[in-house]
Subunit: 98 residues, 4 copies
């Protein structure tokens, strides 16, 4: 239970980091307002992706590529951590205690 | 089987709640028609996300951020419930009955 | 192996049905060309969702809601079939043959 | 560990191939700049899918359909390889060594 909690904490910290990096980036690089930058980050990292709030400059596109690839790795880590827990942690316990 | 059914019921109720909250929200906050609000909710929570039906006000964006993050948690719960069932429920049964 | 093949066949048939229903629907309901209708179906069911090829009428939106919810169930079935195979089929074999 | 590494390597090579094919395709077929073509490929294969950088010709749509379906198979392969490893590789080791 403690292992799950500590890994979930790590994932939550990573997700907040992505939101922070994305929001700061869109405010600094694209000159978006806080709400626009947070909105843009949330629709990007969750892959909802409606449309760009305003047309992207090449710099905005490069930042967005970086943000998408980063968040794909974070989500990948989150999923693999979770699977690892399910298979090696919990299952192992079942075998140990029967 | 009963455990699976009751958990699937919970997931279905949660999904309907998300559709209800989304549709009501877009009708009340953004002044969308029923079809537009349902369409907007479905393309948001499934992450299809074509484009906003009409340009979003900051209030619309904040509601959409809330809706996306809520539905991500619902989907997360659905997936983890399902995985938990697969690993701890069914597998356990296989070991018990062989 | 035969079980996997027959389940994969079922999934492939379901995916082709979704592509066929989507393409026919967008040709008949929205008056899209074949390429536009196939493109619209592919970006919808894979949740890429760039933008509507031309603005949607309410009928188009209702058909799209139906298409998205159908393909979500198909994908859900595909994933659960696959997981079921992995857990109950293959694993079971490992235990039987060791 | 070696098996995981070699399979992860294969997946990484496949992902780079998809990025290379997508970027080349959008540069040659749609006449996009390198940044636009890479941006278009990344938002397509990750299913973020904001909007087309410029309106698509029928050729662009056919190439995009091909790119999406290819990357769906790659992602499918990546997920099934990973699941296979988790279930048949790692789990098997746990049973062998207890
Ligand atoms: K999308
Ligand atoms: K979009």
């Amino acid at each position: 239970m403690k292992i799950l909690n500590s890994k979930l904490n790590k994932i939550i910290i990573l997700i907040f980091s992505v939101l922070l990096i994305g929001t700061s980036g869109y405010m600094l690089i694209s000159g978006y307002s806080f709400v626009d930058a947070l909105y843009m980050t949330v629709i990007t990292v969750t892959t909802v992706g409606f449309s760009e709030v305003k047309p992207f400059t090449p710099e905005d596109k490069i930042f967005t590529i970086f943000l998408i690839l980063t968040s794909v790795f974070i989500v990948g880590y989150a999923v693999s951590t979770f699977s690892e827990y399910l298979v090696s942690g919990k299952l192992f316990d079942y075998f140990k205690h029967r």
